[in-house]
């Protein structure tokens, strides 16, 4: 489980997160929504331990990543995490196969046949066999996301962090990525944290949702709670209206 306790984060004079606390439910997908610049990706990087908060604590499976002093300590905690980045963040010089095999090669002592078996299973599960010899730049962004998903799941993490799953994708490919998330969640049962501003599309993959606004959690609940909410900011955000309490930054 991921537990975020009273997190404060600022960049210079700009306060981004101002006392965020939330327990992400194990085995469920929680989506963090909010307008651009509200600190969603910052929260993800704090969970990953790439950024350090000024105040507060983040526990992953009971271990504090904010109190971990060395990269080695952080890496032990990160072993529980998988991440699907916004742009998939595949390594340009490696083929699809090598990208998926990368965490196994770097972090385990598995033999080549064992690695091959696991990667082949993943290629099969995510329908990537025809592309395994291709380089990332030779496949579409949607397919890259699929490869990114395969890479993040190959170590069978307890927690999967997904940053803006369908940014830059057309509606059809975007839907394909949501279907992929649903498929993978049903198969691997991970605790999911999805960062998104795509409403109402993201409702379909969310068990729980939290909305960030002005550095705080503005609303938390199920997707239905968001739809039923009479809060002006929530409705403005869902409907994508310009008039309302949320101003464009």
């Amino acid at each position: 489980m991921i537990s975020v306790k009273d997190i404060h984060k600022r960049f210079g004079k700009q306060i981004v997160l101002n006392g965020i606390s939330h327990d992400f439910m194990p085995g469920k997908i929680t989506t963090v929504v909010g307008p651009s610049g509200v600190g969603k990706s910052v929260l993800l990087k704090l969970i990953l331990g790439i950024l350090v908060p000024e105040k507060g604590d983040i526990l992953i499976e009971g271990h504090s990543i904010t109190l971990a002093n060395t990269e080695a300590e952080k890496n032990e905690i990160r072993a529980n995490l998988g991440v699907l980045f916004q742009s998939a963040a595949l390594f340009d010089s490696l083929t699809v196969y090598d990208n998926i095999a990368f965490p196994l090669v770097e972090r385990t002592y598995l033999s080549r046949p064992e690695i091959h078996e696991k990667v082949s299973f993943m290629l099969e599960a995510l329908s990537l066999q025809p592309y395994y010899t291709k380089l990332p730049q030779e496949i579409s962004l949607g397919m890259r996301k699929r490869v990114g998903m395969a890479r993040s799941l190959i170590m069978e993490p307890k927690v999967l962090l997904i940053d803006e799953p369908n940014t830059g994708l057309d509606p059809l490919v975007g839907q394909e990525v949501y279907d992929l998330i649903k498929l993978c969640h049903s198969q691997w049962k991970f605790t999911g944290v999805v960062i998104s501003h795509e409403l109402p599309e993201v409702f379909q993959v969310s068990d729980r949702m939290i909305m960030l606004l002005n550095g705080k959690i503005h609303l938390e609940g199920t997707p239905q709670d968001f739809i039923d909410s009479t809060d002006l900011a929530v409705q403005q955000f869902i409907q994508g209206r310009l008039d309302g309490p949320i101003t464009i930054q």
Partner: protein, 262 residues
Amino acid sequence: MSVVRGISAFGRGTIENTTGWGAAWVFMYHILVGIFSRPFRGRLILRQLLEIGFNSTLVIFLIGGFTGAVLAVQGEYTLSKFGATAWTGPMVALSLIRELAPVLTALMVIGRAGSAITAEIGIMRITEQIDALRSMAVDPIRYLMVPRFIAAVISMPLLMCVFTSVGIGGGYLVGVKLLGLSPGSFMGQIISNIDILDVNSGLIKSTVFGIIFGWVCCYKGYTCGFGAVGVNKATTQAVVTASVCVLVVDYFLTSILNRIFF
């Protein structure tokens, strides 16, 4: 008010520079620790040796050959005023081994491979590939920087040797075949006037330049700013900073090595 603004700008600049230098030294410390840490990534080092070293040989051949040729022409002209054209060979060889080969090799490799390293790492930074490495519990300094740094330090002296050899060859061709110098005298004078300490001096310089090249170019890429502008700026800064550092360090290194060796 303008005085206060000037003082505060000076103070801000000093703090930023000091912080930058501090971060660069910490970065270097992590690279040095990474060199002696497991796992040893032989394949990655070989790939970088190919990229930085082998792929630079053509340009080093060209520059080395023509530098040696020009030295022979200029040397023969100058020495002929003193009736000492027999010394053209040692003049070409000594100039190359002790000074021109290490410096020009470093400048060429910084321009060719250094900019590529900075741009590649910078793009990895802005496309979240470095964050991806960290999220997979792989230290980006050990995985990305250490192989490049080791390859830079190994490649530079080797390329300097190529530069020197080709340069002497270019000087020989021009001096003997075009200017009519005696071939026996040209090579004989080189052999009898070049000391192993001259070669050591060149090799030490090249190794130090390799360290500067690897350090600056990796650091600038790793700390690159946002977007295409950030990569552009980092690449320019890397090439300029590394080139200036090479020339400044060359002066001090020459002074020190001359005191120690000669």
